[in-house]
């Protein structure tokens, strides 16, 4: 493709600076040796990273977020596979309405979902529980899992399954030996995208998480409400580093563009 002129490159540099500035600043401040927010220049220190150990609520929130993300993503993927097969394979009345329903959490403001879940869970006795969190997260991440599972199901050449049947395979064998192995990459990437969305989710979770069931973003958010100090920057820096590492791995394994746009998916 043609090269960009100097004007374009200058714009590009400013843009990238804009995009990276807040992230780099957080990481930078995390290394401050002072007891207050400052930008370390000549002396850098790890004291605020060690300090995290003295705040067990951050550490437990981290593990909780991990476990919540992994569990809700796995369940969301499990729910999305049969639905994706139905949508990809058959033309039936209500197909479009149903797809819209499954994608609706994307369009509903998370504030509204948070309120709705808070009300609902309180009424049925799941208020402030981990189970309630899992249920809520499953629903929120399902559209991401579904989008990628659907792309995989659509991309599957039906005649491959026909070939297996013509060679004598029963329905169970076709599912186990042909369909699932070929759909698996889509499942894995669906899980990964769902996990990230669950791990980062704060708006809805802040409504339904109680002091004993807080996730990491909620803990960080509530902490910032009261004060901004170097501790929350070092926690954030850790989150950023972990995310970037996961990002690079996912890009190598699957391709970030495909993950976010969803090959073959229509619209949003």
């Amino acid at each position: 493709m043609s090269r960009n002129g100097p004007l374009a490159l200058a714009f590009h540099t400013l843009f990238v600076t804009f995009m990276l500035a807040p992230i780099l600043v957080v990481c930078w401040v995390a290394f401050t040796p002072e007891g207050f927010l400052s930008f370390p220049t000549d002396r850098w220190s790890l004291r605020w990273f060690y300090a995290i150990a003295r705040y067990p609520e951050f550490i437990s929130a981290f593990w909780r977020s991990l476990w919540l993300g992994a569990l809700s993503s796995a369940i969301a993927v499990a729910f999305s596979v049969p639905a994706a097969l139905a949508i990809a394979r058959y033309r039936f009345p209500g197909r479009e309405a149903m797809t819209a329903l499954f994608m609706s959490p994307l369009m509903i403001p998370h504030v509204v979902l948070g309120i709705a879940f808070l009300r609902f869970f309180t009424q049925i006795g799941l208020g402030g529980t981990f189970a309630g969190l899992v249920l809520a997260h499953i629903v929120i991440v399902l559209p991401f899992a579904l989008r990628l599972t659907l792309a995989s199901a659509i991309g599957l050449d039906r005649s491959i399954e026909h070939a297996a049947v013509s060679l004598g395979a029963s329905e169970a064998v076709v599912l186990r030996r042909i369909t699932l192995p070929l759909v698996l990459p889509g499942l894995a990437s669906g899980w990964a995208l769902a996990f990230i969305n669950s791990f980062d989710e704060v708006t809805m979770t802040v409504f339904i998480a109680a002091p004993g069931t807080e996730t990491l973003p909620v803990r960080m958010f509530l902490y910032i409400q009261d004060n901004i100090d170097p501790l929350v920057t070092s926690v954030s820096a850790c989150v950023i580093v972990i995310t970037v590492a996961a990002l690079v791995v996912m890009d190598r394994a699957y391709g970030l563009e495909r993950l976010l746009v969803g090959r073959g998916a229509d619209g949003r």
Partner: protein, 283 residues
């Protein structure tokens, strides 16, 4: 055979019926209930909350501010995100892939961490942003960013910019590069090609990106809460306040439902307009 698709979708359907539809219906019903500081929530059917939300000037101001912020965020995202996507598209690999990663990657980083970065950049008079602006001579005295609408707009534009870049990027991938070559062969200069060939084809991508950014900006919570603070409320933080501080759940529910309805109407309406306008181009 006919039943197969319905059977397959049953688990997810049941899940959504129980965990999405029921709670949403309950929330709508909640908005019609009465509330008092001592009696709590009274399950009756009255219009008090809705009257308040729709007629009280306080709520008008809140919603107006919410959509005003969303509008400016969308504008910034379009003005800066679209050209960047175009510039990215014209890069050679490996730069192309690398910068795509750099620009889209932040989407996966916690919004709290990203907004924290802006709080640090804006912070007080010694904030880096002000320092940079003063040192380039653009301003003389520090501008307030924290707890202002401007600050919220800038931070939100950062958080949501990748969505715009993604939408325009996706649209650019669908372009046939030979079309640009055909225009050049017929004598068009680079700006003409941009203005009359590329831009019209990419416009649907820009518009659908704008719709996404607008919807997300209007329903944003964490960023306005952190940058805007307790005094600068938007619809989401307002609902949060009513729900978790004042404990007036019915009123909070009314605010939330109004936000939902308004956004759904705007998104569907705008999407239809874009589709109709561009159906003739793309068939």
């Amino acid at each position: 055979m006919r039943a197969a698709p319905y059977l397959l979708s049953l688990p997810a359907l049941l899940l959504f019926a129980g965990v999405v539809i029921v709670p949403l219906v309950m929330t709508v019903l909640l908005s019609f209930h009465d509330w008092g500081q001592y009696k709590g929530i009274e399950p009756v059917f009255i219009l008090k909350n809705w009257q308040e939300v729709l007629t009280d000037s306080y709520f008008h101001e809140m919603f107006w501010r919410t959509f005003r912020i969303a509008f400016f965020v969308t504008l910034l995202a379009a003005v800066f995100g679209a050209p960047e996507a175009y510039i990215l598209n014209r890069m050679k690999s490996p730069w192309r892939g690398l910068f795509l990663l750099v620009i889209l990657g932040p989407l996966l980083i916690s919004v709290v961490a990203r907004t924290l970065g802006w709080a640090l950049l804006f912070g007080g008079n010694s904030g880096l942003v002000n320092k940079a602006l003063i040192s380039t001579g653009l301003i003389e005295t520090p501008l307030p960013f924290m707890f202002t609408e401007t600050g919220v707009v800038v931070a939100l534009a950062h958080v949501l910019m990748p969505y715009m870049v993604l939408a325009v990027w996706a649209a650019l991938q669908r372009l046939d590069p030979q079309i640009e070559n055909a225009a050049v062969a017929l004598g068009a200069g680079p700006f003409t090609v941009l203005r009359r060939i590329v831009l019209p084809q990419v416009m649907p991508g820009i518009l659908s990106g704008a719709i996404i950014v607008f919807a997300l900006a209007a329903s944003a919570f964490a960023t306005p809460a952190i940058i805007g603070g307790r005094r600068l409320k938007v619809a989401s933080t307002l609902a949060y306040d009513e729900f978790l501080n004042t404990l007036n759940w019915p009123l909070g529910a009314a605010v939330a439902v109004l936000l939902l309805v308004a956004l759904v109407a705007i998104v569907i309406g705008a999407s239809r307009l874009v589709e109709r306008r561009y159906a003739q181009v793309f068939g």
